[in-house]
């Protein structure tokens, strides 16, 4: 019974050619503790934090956490262990939201952000640290007003001042930003280069000539 489970649950060990039963029991226990820890904590915990607090080597912790992620990733689990903001955190899976919602006591307040706020946030995420005038210049709108909303929601914070005339305040995104958007880290945002390539590819595919049928108002048609 036990050995069956041990094989079943830890895909990480599948790559391990020789399973050592003695080590396995200790591993199993440590993984159980990690599961309990990830379940208990509210802030995503980094492997370094966990390793330090448990007095275990970080690579061991990381390996076990990864195997937890894989285990919960399987469809028979309704929970997930997720890597968010550089740390691990347990949540329900989004696909079960309809059933789960009915049982949630305190509904979290929705994070309502305007598209302008999201654009500014994206801009800061990519270009940080960045000043308000720089944001305005790129967005082409006189609208740094959303900055206060983003600051109030702790999605961005100040990051010193830029050494130019007027010494404007620099802004950067926070850990809360990663948490709220479920991002592992900033590198998870598609790079600007990737966007560029996608755009180019789209252009090449469509070609300059092939007008797409779904765009209703073909440019050739006469105006009213």
């Amino acid at each position: 019974m036990d050995s069956f489970d041990a094989n079943a649950v830890a895909p990480a060990r599948e790559t391990d050619p020789e399973p050592e039963p003695a080590r396995d029991a200790a591993e199993e226990r440590l993984r159980a503790v990690l599961e309990a820890i990830v379940y208990v904590t509210d802030e995503p915990l980094t492997p370094a934090q966990i390793a330090a607090a448990l007095g275990e080597p970080q690579d061991r912790i990381e390996r076990l956490l990864r195997s937890l992620v894989e285990e919960y990733d399987k469809p028979h689990h309704g929970l997930a262990v997720r890597l968010i903001a550089g740390g691990y955190k347990m949540t329900t899976k989004p696909e079960h939201h309809e059933a789960v919602r009915a049982f949630v006591k305190n509904l979290k307040p929705p994070l309502k952000l305007s598209m302008a706020a999201l654009e500014t946030l994206a801009l800061i995420a990519y270009k940080q640290p960045i000043t308000a005038p720089e944001i305005m210049a790129i967005r082409g709108v006189q609208g740094a007003g959303v900055l206060k909303t983003l600051l109030d929601r702790k999605l961005i914070t100040t990051a010193g001042r830029k050494n130019v005339v007027g010494r404007p305040i620099l802004y950067k995104t926070t850990k809360e930003f990663l948490v709220q958007f479920g991002l592992k880290d900033l590198s998870e945002l598609p790079t600007l280069k990737e966007f560029e390539e996608l755009r180019r590819m789209a252009l090449e595919d469509d070609g300059p000539s092939s007008a797409q049928p779904e765009t209703g108002s073909a440019p050739g048609e006469a105006p009213p």
Binding site: T174, F195, P219
Partner: protein, 261 residues
């Protein structure tokens, strides 16, 4: 002239949004924008907005000027000799770069929006409170922005509070009564002053005693009411409905003044 604007006047956040929309809707190669056509369409949009009394920001006007400038530069014949020495940059290049960058952030914003939808469908139920000691006071995680926000609030609060602190700590009961009266006059109807806070604001023992006696005298005069919501709770001072009437009576005040002489 073909127009992609023939259905209705859409709302655009800024001129870059409008330009991008014109370009993408007509499937124009962004690296080779027909500047004359786009400029005409852009101006048409502005024209229609004006007709419909829709106010466009200054940035729309600025962009119009930029477009016209680019158009004129493209119309100007180049000096072949100069072109050989210093090949002129495409006048559209800077605009194209800005447009592309703008578009990237629009996509990134959409991606964030998607991510957020996913996060809203997800719940966490951390049980850390079961492992924390009870005495740990609930606090708030703090950013630099909080610091300046809080400072503003504190200063604002201080500004609204009538100034009654005195450097001279030798304050008499009638003087303290006058200050209390002034304070209460500045307190909105229905609101209360905290007795504890009043005491805490006094800088000397004498002032605390004077405040204490002043409160008692005013209660005796039925100028104020003392309210205590819970047993051992803070005592609050409220204006009595006869507040103005009583304190307008000079004889009563004079009698008290005499009593403390």
């Amino acid at each position: 002239m073909s127009s992609p604007l023939n259905v209705q006047l859409e709302h655009y956040e800024g001129p870059l949004d409008l330009l991008l929309d014109l370009i993408r809707k007509q499937e124009i190669d962004i690296y080779d924008i027909p500047i004359a056509r786009i400029t005409a369409q852009y101006l048409e949009y502005m024209q229609r907005a004006a007709e419909l009394d829709i106010e466009l920001g200054a940035e729309f006007v600025y962009m119009a000027a930029t477009l016209i400038h680019i158009k004129s530069r493209m119309l100007l014949p180049r000096d072949p000799a100069l072109a050989e020495l210093e090949p002129e940059e495409d006048p559209r290049r800077e605009l194209v770069e800005r447009l592309l960058e703008h578009e990237r952030f629009k996509h990134a914003a959409e991606m964030l929006y998607q991510k957020r939808i996913l996060e809203e469908a997800v719940w966490s139920n951390p049980q850390i409170h079961q492992f924390l000691d009870d005495e740990e006071e609930p606090g708030l995680a703090v950013t630099l922005f909080d610091l300046v926000k809080v400072l503003e609030q504190v200063l604002e609060r201080a500004r609204r509070r009538p100034v009654y602190e005195v450097a001279d700590e030798d304050v008499s009961v009638p003087e303290m009564m006058a200050r209390l009266k002034e304070l209460l006059e500045h307190t909105p109807a229905g609101e209360t002053l905290s007795v504890r806070e009043l005491f805490e604001r006094q800088k000397s023992r004498r002032a605390v005693v004077a405040m204490f006696l002043a409160i008692l005298e005013m209660a005796k005069l039925q100028a104020i009411r003392l309210v205590q919501k819970d047993l051992f709770g803070d005592i609050a001072i409220q204006r009595h409905r006869r507040f103005a009437e009583v304190l307008a009576c000079p004889e009563a005040l004079a009698a008290i003044e005499e009593g403390y002489r």
